[in-house]
Symmetry: C2
């Protein structure tokens, strides 16, 4: 198989972790005889520094020309505390999602048995949890019109959804539910929001086409609670952009650490694969970041974009083995036991490669 | 002290639990020589059934004439699954919040030692947690303009904030931080939302007036995660209406159960006190609901609206004692140990009274 992959390291720990994602891709290419070629491009703060643009034209062109994209992380503390900044790193990520039509963000929450103790939830609550989130990615209050009054004293964002946007992601989620546990929970706030009422209407309609799937509708406040109370009860979770942002980060604690979670953004064309963790500037450049989420992003890429299931499994097995051997990065080490062998980014990446 | 209290039982388990909140108020009145008088009014589904209006005019008039309001719960499954219903129980609650100017919702997350094991979080993660949420209650996407296109295929809600709305709740939150741990975390999504950028600007300004308080700004996705990961790190949390709805319900799991949490909505006039749990129609009328959140609502009322600290403490002490004696309602019973004595609503209410 011949594939061209664009690597966008982004900001903060992005470059460090994508180095290892890429290294694993190269190794898989060698071992299985695939011809993976690579290119590199800038986005986010890195894009702004070099070109003034969080999504340089060249990056977008390269993205469109590639078969898949491996992304690192985005964001910089400088903008976070300056609410008046006009140009912001995150705009790059939002724009590429929109431009590539990446409307479905898939976030699997899977548990490595070895890490059951790294979570703040009790192991008996966690054990057996296996959730696949479908977060809508190109609509909602993220892309609705933003306004600031002339006196700057009033600010607004429009939370907006159209039928076709809900339909296309609902279908993807139901298709996934059919080959999983046949349970789907759609999360909204239909008791208050009109956009949620449309969301619920459309999901109820699509549900009729999948009578085998057991559908539940849940309010976001309740879902945020149930996820902590009893994560096992969820199979496929379908939700809008903003609620999905919140729920998936919350759910990351189930997996013990953000450092262990990857996500796939797919839609009409090229797929986009990234860890769900952020740029973590506090540990950037210190060889402390956990490269496993980037490596897992690569596994998702192989499976979802290239249909290479065996190769993907090879990667998750390698991670499993590394964890079973007791190796940990700082974020997933259980500080109560001393048996963990704590590694930096480089050493952890190398262990998985081996 | 002479006070007139309006009881609004509302829907589902509301009537059962407010019975016990009221009974505890009466007992406190007798024991401490206060003259508490009561009236009763309808709201929510109960209001719709009787008058067609989720907030009947009579209820609003009585509410305005009272010194404090004890509320039960709102909502009915009938409307939840009918996204096209025009009249909905929740409108009653939203309208009374707006009409009474109840812009600040205070939700203390306190842990009863006896219930450490009832949470899905590990006791060592929980121990020492003591958070006071300030959720803005009369703005945001809850009250912004709602639209549905003529063909019904597009729906929107306006997320909107004005400077004064942020200022007044920020001041309340900082004042509370000053008499607590002097740490305040303001939660927003300023990397994406204009309304959040205004929010952050205003909080940064107010923060300057409270140099002793250590201020942190956190994105909602991160906050949803940190709350599970390390709840102890929070003291006062200040946030907007929608984010507050989600975070406080999530935080309820920290306290072991929603059945243990009360909230106070305050602003310009009469205070409004309610459990944070919902109407729970599945257990309504079965003598299964936990009355403790309603009883704790009364403790908040005594402290916040009437300044009766000693009486409030009497109530929390009584609850503490009841729990220490091993009495539990179903929702907070630790099913792994058999020592718990499981009681119904009535028996639990009576134990606390004793
Ligand atoms: C960086 C930010 C704009 C982004 C989002 O909110 O979508 C991030 O939190 C994510 O979840 O990918
Ligand atoms: C019933 C509903 C409208 C309400 C809200 O979302 O505010 C409830 O969830 C709450 O938190 O008080």
């Amino acid at each position: 198989m011949k594939k061209h992959i664009l690597v966008i390291p982004g900001d903060g720990i992005g470059p460090e972790v994508t180095t290892w994602g890429k290294a694993v891709l190269e190794k898989i290419g060698q071992d299985y005889g695939h011809e993976f070629t690579f290119d590199k491009a800038l986005m986010g703060h890195a894009g702004i520094e070099a070109t003034g643009n969080p999504l340089p034209d060249e990056t977008l062109a390269k993205a469109k020309a590639s078969d898949a994209i491996l992304f690192g992380a985005i964001g910089h503390i400088k903008y976070d505390n300056d609410p008046s900044a006009k140009v912001r790193p995150e705009q790059g990520l939002l724009k590429i999602r929109k431009e590539l039509g990446l409307y479905a963000n898939l976030r699997p929450i899977m548990l490595f048995d070895e890490l059951l103790d790294a979570s703040s939830l009790k192991p008996e609550i966690l054990k057996g949890t296996d959730i696949l989130f479908f977060r809508e990615l190109t609509g909602d209050v993220y892309f609705g019109e933003k306004k600031r009054s002339e006196d700057r004293n009033t600010a607004s964002d429009l939370m907006i959804y159209s039928r076709y946007e809900v339909e296309r992601i609902a279908i993807k989620a139901y298709e996934a539910a059919m080959v999983r546990g046949k349970r789907l929970c759609s999360v909204d706030k239909a008791n208050v929001l009109e956009a949620s009422r449309l969301w619920r209407e459309v999901v109820q309609e699509i549900a009729k086409q999948y009578p085998e799937v057991e559908t539940e509708h849940m309010f976001i406040d309740n879902a945020a609670m149930q996820l902590v109370k009893n994560p096992k009860k969820f199979d496929v979770v379908l939700t809008a952009n903003l609620f999905g942002d919140i729920l998936t980060d919350e759910a990351s604690q189930i997996a013990g650490s953000m450092g262990m979670l990857a996500s796939a953004s797919v839609g009409d064309g090229t797929g986009f694969f990234e860890p769900i963790h952020g740029s973590a500037h506090d540990i950037a450049g210190q060889d402390k970041a956990n490269p496993l989420a980037s490596i897992l992003s690569v596994a998702l890429m192989l499976e979802i974009s290239f249909g290479l299931k065996e190769e993907a499994k090879k990667i998750t097995d390698a991670i499993d083995k590394t964890l079973k051997d007791g190796y940990r990065t700082g974020d997933i080490a259980d500080t109560n036991t001393d048996k963990a062998k704590i590694l930096g980014t480089t050493a952890m990446g190398q262990k998985v490669l081996e």
